[in-house]
């Protein structure tokens, strides 16, 4: 009897506990939902901005250098500093996190889309012109489809790194699963909480990456090799 009592009194600090997961499923699910929604929205907005920007860099050659240089500099700015610049203006809401995430994702995607567009063979471009394609027709029928592998690479990189980056949103109180990691740290290093959130974070990155690979296979049926 006393053994049981002492066992109950000291639940220990296990690396993983189903008890924790069961008791906190609401909190965990909410965190996963916030994490996934922040990632999804950030990558989506980033794609919508990055693709036109890349086309601009592709069409107007003198702009390519500056666009890539500026993205390089912004990318060097640490995430914490970037959030620190945004927060005083946008407050401590999800918007701040979203803007920061979009900026980083944007740079990764632009870099890869520009690379993808630049590797369209000049012969193909000339052939398209010879066939009477105009600027826009060539873009949508020739250039962008051929640059699709670059787009996919950029989106995949951006997605995986955005999933990891969301956790820094803890700074303004919207870090998705990072919120749990940080709470576990403050809660006297509650390992089960930290571990659960970390594993879910990595799992989310892997699942989203696999989904994107699948999407890439579907939209580029001609590339039978591994989608890179």
């Amino acid at each position: 009897m006393s053994f049981r009592l002492s066992y109950r009194a000291d639940p220990g600090n296990p690396w993983f506990s189903w008890q924790y997961v069961r008791d906190n499923s609401d909190t965990i699910l909410a965190a996963v939902r916030e994490h996934a929604s922040l990632t999804g929205r950030a990558v989506l907005i980033a794609v919508l901005i990055a693709v036109p920007l890349s086309v601009l860099a592709y069409w107007v050659r003198p702009l390519a250098g500056p666009i890539l240089a500026v993205s390089g500099v912004v990318y060097t700015i640490p995430s914490l500093a970037l959030f620190a610049f945004i927060a005083p203006y946008l407050g401590t809401g999800t918007t701040t996190v979203l803007v920061g995430l979009v900026l980083y994702a944007l740079l990764l995607i632009v870099r890869n889309v520009v690379a993808g567009l630049n590797q369209v063979p000049p012969e193909v471009r000339e052939a398209a012109e010879g066939m009477g394609y105009g600027r826009w027709g060539r873009l949508f029928r020739i250039d962008l489809p051929l640059a699709l592998p670059g787009v996919v690479t950029g989106v995949r990189l951006a997605t995986v790194s955005t999933v990891a980056l969301v956790t820094v949103g803890v700074l303004v109180g919207h870090g998705g699963l990072g919120q749990l990691i940080f709470a576990g740290f403050q809660n006297n290093l509650y390992k089960a909480e930290i571990m659960t959130a970390t594993l879910l974070c990595v799992a989310l990155a892997v699942v989203l990456d696999l989904l994107l690979i699948l999407v890439a296979r579907l939209v580029t049926p001609w590339s039978t090799g591994r989608a890179r």
């Binding site: 500099v73 990318y75 060097t76 700015i77 640490p78 995430s79 914490l80 500093a81 970037l82 959030f83 620190a84 610049f85 927060a87 005083p88 203006y89 946008l90 407050g91 401590t92 809401g93 980083y104 990764l108 870099r111 890869n112 690479t153 990189l157 951006a158 995986v160 790194s161 999933v163 990891a164 980056l165 969301v166 956790t167 820094v168 803890v170 700074l171 303004v172 870090g175 699963l177 990072g178 990691i181 940080f182 576990g184 740290f185 290093l189 390992k191 930290i194 571990m195 959130a197 970390t198 974070c201 990595v202 990155a205 892997v206």
Partner: protein
């Protein structure tokens, strides 16, 4: 949603207050902490990654391992590693766990570049060295290593900039560094601490950009002149690039 009136103005005022420089926990203290943690982490990373990368490159195997390491660290949030390592070390919240966590993120670029650096050595140069009677170890030390130096420098720059950027997150686990200034600012609330938040951001970003520029110069210096043109990001695989700010 409290928004500061004029964060930039407040930041200039905050930076111009001499007490904010010299106070305990002021800018100079935090800068010292930041640089110490970063230097130790990069040194630890080099100690592990360079011998391994050079050796893997020398024997010409393990390319898969190198890619795997880069991809795996890409998905692990920095915050998670910073939080987990103090538990593993069970030594409380000293500098050691933070340094080890940061070193983990320094390894992929160092490893990848050391590996590529040795692999890209002209096979003919290797054959010639063999023909001159050099043993495996001598070949690595006298031929492959010197030829890999530009790559090692490129990896060092990427890793160092990354660690300096990531070290800002050490503040979440009370590890000190310049990130602490930002965190303290948030602790005051955005209306009161807006200036300090922006000032901290300027310091963190400035340090990262400064490291990038200075180490870029070092990289140029150690790259033999004929190899300099048109090789900005020496053999750096893109995936590792993305770990920079996580």
């Amino acid at each position: 949603m409290t928004v500061a009136a004029n964060p930039v103005g407040q930041a200039i005022v905050w930076i111009n207050d001499p007490l904010n420089w010299t106070n305990p926990g002021g800018m100079l203290d935090r800068l010292g902490e930041h640089l110490t943690i970063s230097a130790l982490a990069v040194a630890l990373g080099c100690l592990v990654a360079w011998p391994l990368g050079l050796w893997l490159g020398h024997v010409g195997r393990g390319g898969g391992v190198v890619v795997l390491v880069s991809n795996a660290t890409l998905a692990i949030p920095t915050l998670a590693l910073l939080t987990i390592l103090p538990v593993v070390f069970a030594s409380g919240f000293g500098k050691t766990p933070v340094v080890v966590a940061l070193a983990v993120f320094a390894v992929p670029p160092l490893l990848a570049n050391a590996y590529t650096g040795v692999r890209q050595v002209d096979p003919e140069a290797r054959e010639a060295a063999r023909g001159m009677g050099l043993s495996g170890g001598q070949l690595l030390r006298r031929v492959e290593l010197p030829l890999a130096v530009p790559y090692l420098a490129a990896g060092f720059r990427t890793a160092a900039v990354q660690v300096i950027a990531t070290a800002a997150l050490a503040s979440f686990v009370n590890g000190g560094g310049l990130g602490q200034i930002i965190r303290t600012g948030f602790g005051l609330g955005i209306a009161a601490g807006g200036g300090q938040i922006v000032a901290g951001g300027v310091l963190v970003a400035g340090l990262a950009l400064l490291a990038e520029v200075v180490l870029g110069g070092v990289e140029r210096l150690v790259t033999p002149r004929p190899l300099r043109r048109g090789r900005q990001r020496l053999g750096r695989p893109r995936p590792a690039d993305a770990t920079g700010n996580a």
